[in-house]
Amino acid sequence: MLVLSIITLFLFILLETTVTTIPLLLVVILIMAVVSKKSWIFLIAFILGILADSLLFNMMGKTSLFFVIFLFIILSYDRKFEIRTVYFVLISSFLGSLFYLIFYGYNSIFMQSFLSSIIAAILFLAVKRILKFDAKSKLAI
């Protein structure tokens, strides 16, 4: 599972910094946060943000800042709702992508956000099947 996660992360970094503007890294961070609910996810988000900024010539720290704040909001919802559901993943990935694309001034923001939420939902369902968890189960990651 760890090897698969690393390969997926690397692939998504490459795709987002080379051929597409769809916020794939945001999707990956969201899935990891929703599945693990641990604070080490902030470190992953920070590092991914720095990598993305360096490869896309953005101001260093800009993407990390966005990811960290996004994660804080996602994990804050865990106190109120159950976040380990596909509906939460769909809505949060759509809204997160929308703000991300507006933040960076990209075009076709609604289409890209919609596509990003579909990718997030598919990824979440795949992880759910591999790890065999449900909304309330304790997942030791």
Partner: protein, 266 residues
């Protein structure tokens, strides 16, 4: 019930760290670090980008590509012919023409061109495999054949970022080749641009070719003159408005480019 992890201290730590790095990056302190990361990953980026290009180009009609190439050559010949006519006229009238400082075209491979749908949607930036070590400077123009591609806006020792002329943050002076009507090109994303601030009295119509007017600074950096920008597809002329404007579409298919040329000033 298991107590939920308190992530607030971790969040605050990374928030402060991100803000600190963001602040320090304004001072360009991380350029070397950026350069090293870019240099390490650039071969993989190049392979990824070229793989996507070869996959999408596989299905494209060979005839269509040849026709586009021929069209592009004809446009170049037309622009050159118009320029020769003007130069001939200027020489006959005994005007002096100034010469640009010697330039050097540097070919650069495109490593990254993110867009919504790879090789179908148009990108707004290019990352190329040449940087400061190749004597590229911020403000150097990027061209492909006789068409303007964009301008270098960021660089590291090994890589550079080019804002395309269709990028929403780009604007520069341009003119029609037919009547020399001057305006300001503003990028709108995709392959679309707007030629704005055209005088009401200026003669501009659909299918007019637009070329750069030239805005080289004292060091010779900026957009050279008479490089093809695009073609007018519609004109908006309202008598009540101060200026008229025209929609311009780029003749270059940015999503299919794999190499650009940087005009260096030596």
């Amino acid at each position: 019930m298991k107590k939920k992890e308190n992530f607030v201290p971790v969040f605050i730590f990374f928030l402060v760290l991100s803000i600190l790095i963001f602040g320090l990056s304004q001072l360009k302190l991380f350029r070397n670090f950026l350069g090293i990361i870019g240099e390490v990953l650039s071969p993989i980026q190049k392979i990824t980008y070229q793989s996507f290009q070869s996959v999408t180009n596989f299905n494209k009609n060979e005839n269509l590509r040849e026709l586009k190439e021929e069209n592009s050559n004809l446009i170049r010949q037309l622009v050159n012919q118009k320029l020769l006519e003007k130069e001939n006229s200027a020489l006959r009238d005994q005007f002096e023409t100034s010469k640009l400082r010697s330039t050097n075209l540097l070919p650069a491979k495109i490593l990254s061109a993110p867009s919504f749908i790879p090789n179908i949607s148009e990108p707004s930036i290019f990352i190329i495999d040449k940087g400061e070590n190749d004597r590229i400077r911020i403000g150097d123009a990027a061209v492909y054949k006789d068409s303007l591609v964009g301008k270098v806006v960021e660089l590291t020792p090994y890589l550079s970022k080019i804002n395309l002329i269709t990028n929403a943050s780009v604007s520069f002076a341009a003119k029609t080749i037919r009547t020399n009507a001057v305006g300001v090109i503003k990028g709108e994303g995709g392959r679309q641009m707007v030629l704005d601030n055209i005088l009401q009295s200026a003669d501009i119509k659909e299918s007019d070719l637009i070329v750069s007017k030239g805005d080289l600074d004292i060091k010779g950096r900026g957009y050279p003159s008479d490089l093809v920008v695009g073609k007018v597809v519609s004109v908006e002329k309202k008598p009540s408005a101060l200026f008229q404007k025209a929609d311009v579409v780029s003749l270059l298919d940015f999503s299919n480019l794999s190499t650009v040329f940087i005009i260096r000033q030596l």
